[in-house]
Amino acid sequence: MKIQINGRWYEAREGEMVLDVLRREGIDVPALCAHEAVEPYGACRLCMVEITHEDWGGWKGNVTSCLYPVEDKLIVQTHTEDIIELRKTVLNLLLARCPNSPEIQKLASEYGIDTTSFVPREDADNCIMCGLCTRVCTQMGFNAISVAGRGYGREIATPLKEAPPDCVGCLACVKICPTHHIQYEDIGTTREIWGRQFELVKCKQCGKALITREFADYLIENRDIPADYFDICDDCKRSGTARDFKKLVHWEEKEEAEEEVSA
């Protein structure tokens, strides 16, 4: 099927969301809570676009492109005056929530906002409540963290605000966080995240810390990975292969030399 974006026609596939097409085609629409690893959520509202269709009798609407499924001949406008104003308002509000976040500052400034018009949050941190961390945690099957409370006081928390028993220290939450708010620390062979400490599995050859024991065990048990897979790190595995390869090459060289000698 085809959809029209800002006057040009693009290919789209059944089951895709409008944002998927926008991203594939490199059309610049901001989105902070959408990530290909997780289901769309519709929380940040930045990816809103205006849609209409020739069959809709002139009806137009604003929808979150991350949640709106494509349909043939859908007509999308990504930068109407109202949409731009909405994004400005959202960024203005996010800047009040997270005044110190470089990512938010940068995005806001792209929309011409350098300081917030609103009251900045006291004790502000860099969490924009996009929920990517909790969603990826659920997606991974761990459910270690979740949203707690509601309204303005809503927060990302571990159960009972204690060290989360279901966390395996996989760092998916850290990696997906768009504002780099979630912190962790690896000291020697220990990883600390969400107030919990994990022992790291060391490479048997080079001794480098690889992965938490819990995460390794989980992967071995659930993802059909060989039990010895995490004994050696990828680098050592690669250099091991190289050594083997070298041996093979050298062996051929040796053979050749011997042949020459015999000749």
Binding site: A43, C44, R45, M129, R150, Y152
Partner: protein, 617 residues
């Protein structure tokens, strides 16, 4: 006893009527929310106590009924003696003995317990003759105050479950839906979506399973209609749900009711048990192959669960967080199955529509808003209570004829409808007919039926602040415009009430409101700025008075007012003790002195002064 045919139901009804006719008198003690608060339990207990000691001829304990809300909460606790309809109000436990000895034993009327018409000052004997009741049309509230909600026989006697018999044994689901469509009934939960169309869509979706849900999560502060129906006439809700389930093809239905309404939960459980016992629920209802179970889902207290997608998540035991509804819940709802969701009042109307026909229903009300609407009429009005009027009745008729006008002869300022998502309408809108479309056009909405009357002692900025605070607390917090936007909007309204805002702030507030509406995910956010927008639309002067003159015309915002004692003070000392900070001093018969430094502007002195000697400046 299983009632498995219309004939059996009619025979049972006959039996119930005969049994009832044997009760020479019935004493209805109102157990509505207002009367409960006013102490009706003690009244009832006193009747029991006296009856235990004393024989009263034909009148036994069976004659005493705990009913649902009778309506005129203002005058509670209420005791009504049928069949005459003798209406005793503000009854005290000490007066119960008199009621037994005089009225019940000898048929004497106790004058001082009768309702007094505030205009004519005359006592009125029967409730039918009280203006408050005379001007109402009670359909959804038809049984409230007239039956014992825990007694299924009371319900059957008043045509209970007749529509189930009629529909299941004589109509196809399509015919039922057509009748509902014909009636024109629109959902009473707020939005006003035509119920018949919703049912038809649900039935039309290809699916092995469909659900019906009754929304009893009335979360509006200042509204108690649905609660009163669930408490006072639970079977009518079940009956409507049975008809709906048959029409759409549901095998299981749910009632989502607040845990904070324990009496509603209790009566619904009882009603479901009784309905099951008599075969109105369960397998093969009315001897047909239609089967249905109704389950109770107790809500945990979250206003956002009024939003259908949030409510369905809550029924499934999850956090009530709405999702984007590009696919409607009627297509993909509870557990992703097609689901019909209507509210309590809508379901309570269904049996009547089935029994009397869609044409009859649409003859009441207006063309586009058919039937009646129940309201909880509260605030600064003489007759606070639960009312029901035909759609199209004007606000003025409701407030002045039924409500008896503004309390203490003060001046009307605004009426708020639609709860936190609604708005405030000023005096020049009083002649608007109350229907879905007119209220929306005027910048408010029907909502589920809270109607709060405000007098000149109300500050409209303060009202906006109040509703915004409510919404900030109740937003689920999922999306940015609702979570952050309403929070900031509330902060700015607070700034206005403190006299610290500028006109530029007002513009920013209007701009922000526009984009909260456009950007929010669900109805809570989309209508969230309404309390601000409707007040600023009709009462802009009041905002400007706070901003420019640093005055609060309503005399409410404490940063902008002060209390002063004027020379009408008689020196009665009545205001001295109530002051919690001892700011008032003075001797008897001398004008008292108010220490502005100490005064916290709590208004306690103002409330007790009998001589208008305290000014709010």
């Amino acid at each position: 006893m299983k009632i498995d045919s219309p004939d059996k139901l009619n025979a049972w009804k006959e039996e119930c009527l005969q049994k009832d006719a044997k009760l020479k008198k019935k004493v209805m003690v109102c157990f509505g929310p207002g009367c409960l608060a006013a102490g009706c339990r003690e009244i009832y207990a006193k009747f029991e106590e006296i009856l235990a000691e004393r024989k009263l001829g034909d009148i036994t304990l069976e004659s005493f009924k705990k009913t649902g809300c009778h309506g005129l909460c203002e005058k509670g606790p209420l005791v009504v003696i049928e069949p005459e309809g003798i209406f005793y109000n503000r009854v005290r436990t000490s007066q119960v003995k008199d009621i037994v000895e005089k009225t019940l034993a000898k048929g004497e009327i106790i004058e001082r317990l009768l309702y007094k018409n505030p205009k004519t000052k005359e006592r009125v004997l029967k409730y039918h003759d009280i203006d408050f009741y005379k001007k109402q049309t009670r359909l959804a509230l038809r049984n409230l105050g007239h039956i014992d909600p825990d007694n299924i026989e009371d319900y059957v006697m008043r045509d209970g479950y007749q529509s189930v018999a009629k529909v299941l044994t004589g109509m196809t689901p399509e015919e039922v839906i057509d009748e509902v469509k014909l009636s024109g009934i629109r959902g009473r939960g707020g939005g006003g979506f035509p119920a018949g169309r919703k049912w038809a869509t649900c039935r039309g979706v290809e699916s092995d399973v469909r659900y019906v849900i009754c929304n009893g999560d009335e979360g509006d502060p200042g509204a108690f209609m649905d609660r009163s129906i669930m408490e006072g006439d639970p079977h009518s809700v079940l009956e409507g749900m049975i008809v709906a389930s048959y029409a759409v093809g549901a095998r299981d239905a749910y009632i989502y009711v607040r845990e904070e309404y324990p009496l509603a939960v209790q009566h619904l459980y009882q009603a479901i048990d009784d309905a099951k016992e008599h075969g109105f629920l369960g397998e093969n209802i009315m001897g047909t192959d239609f089967s249905l179970d109704i389950h109770i889902s107790r809500g945990g207290g979250a206003f956002v669960c009024g939003e259908s997608s949030a409510l369905m998540k809550s029924v499934a035991g999850e956090v009530g967080e709405p999702r984007a509804k590009y696919i409607h819940s009627v297509v993909k709802g509870l557990w992703d199955k097609p689901t019909v969701l209507n509210n309590v009042e809508t379901f309570a109307n269904i049996p009547l529509i089935m029994n009397k026909g869609g044409d009859w229903f649409r003859s009441i009300g207006t063309e586009k808003s058919t039937g009646t609407k129940a309201f909880s009429l509260v605030g600064k009005v003489e007759n606070t209570g639960l009312i029901e009027v035909p759609m199209g009745t004007t606000l003025r008729e409701i407030i002045y004829d039924i409500g008896g006008g503004i309390k203490d002869g003060r001046k009307f300022k605004a009426v708020q409808t639609g709860g936190p998502s609604g708005g405030c309408l000023p005096e020049d809108k009083l002649d608007l007919p109350v229907d879905f479309d007119t209220l929306t056009k005027a910048g408010s909405m029907m909502g589920s039926g809270g109607m709060i009357v405000m007098d000149d002692h109300t500050c409209m900025v303060d009202v906006a602040k109040y509703f915004l605070k409510f919404l900030v607390d109740e937003s689920c917090g999922k999306d940015v415009p609702c979570r952050e936007g309403l929070y900031q909007l509330h902060k700015m309204v607070v700034k206005v009430t403190e006299g610290k805002a500028s006109e530029a702030d007002l513009q920013l507030m209007e701009h922000l409101s526009k984009y909260i509406i456009m950007g929010s995910l669900c109805g809570l956010g989309k209508s969230g700025p309404n309390p601000f927008l409707s007040t600023v639309r009709y009462f802009r002067d009041e905002y400007l008075a706070h901003i420019i003159d640093k005055k609060c015309p309503g005399g409410v915002c404490r940063d902008l007012i002060r209390f002063e004692i004027n020379d009408k003070c008689t020196g009665c000392t009545a205001c001295i003790a109530p002051c919690p900070v001892d700011a008032i001093t003075g001797e008897k018969d001398k004008i008292h002195i108010l220490d502005q430094e100490k005064c916290t502007k709590c208004g306690a002195c103002y409330a007790v002064c009998q001589f208008d000697a305290i000014d709010i400046i």
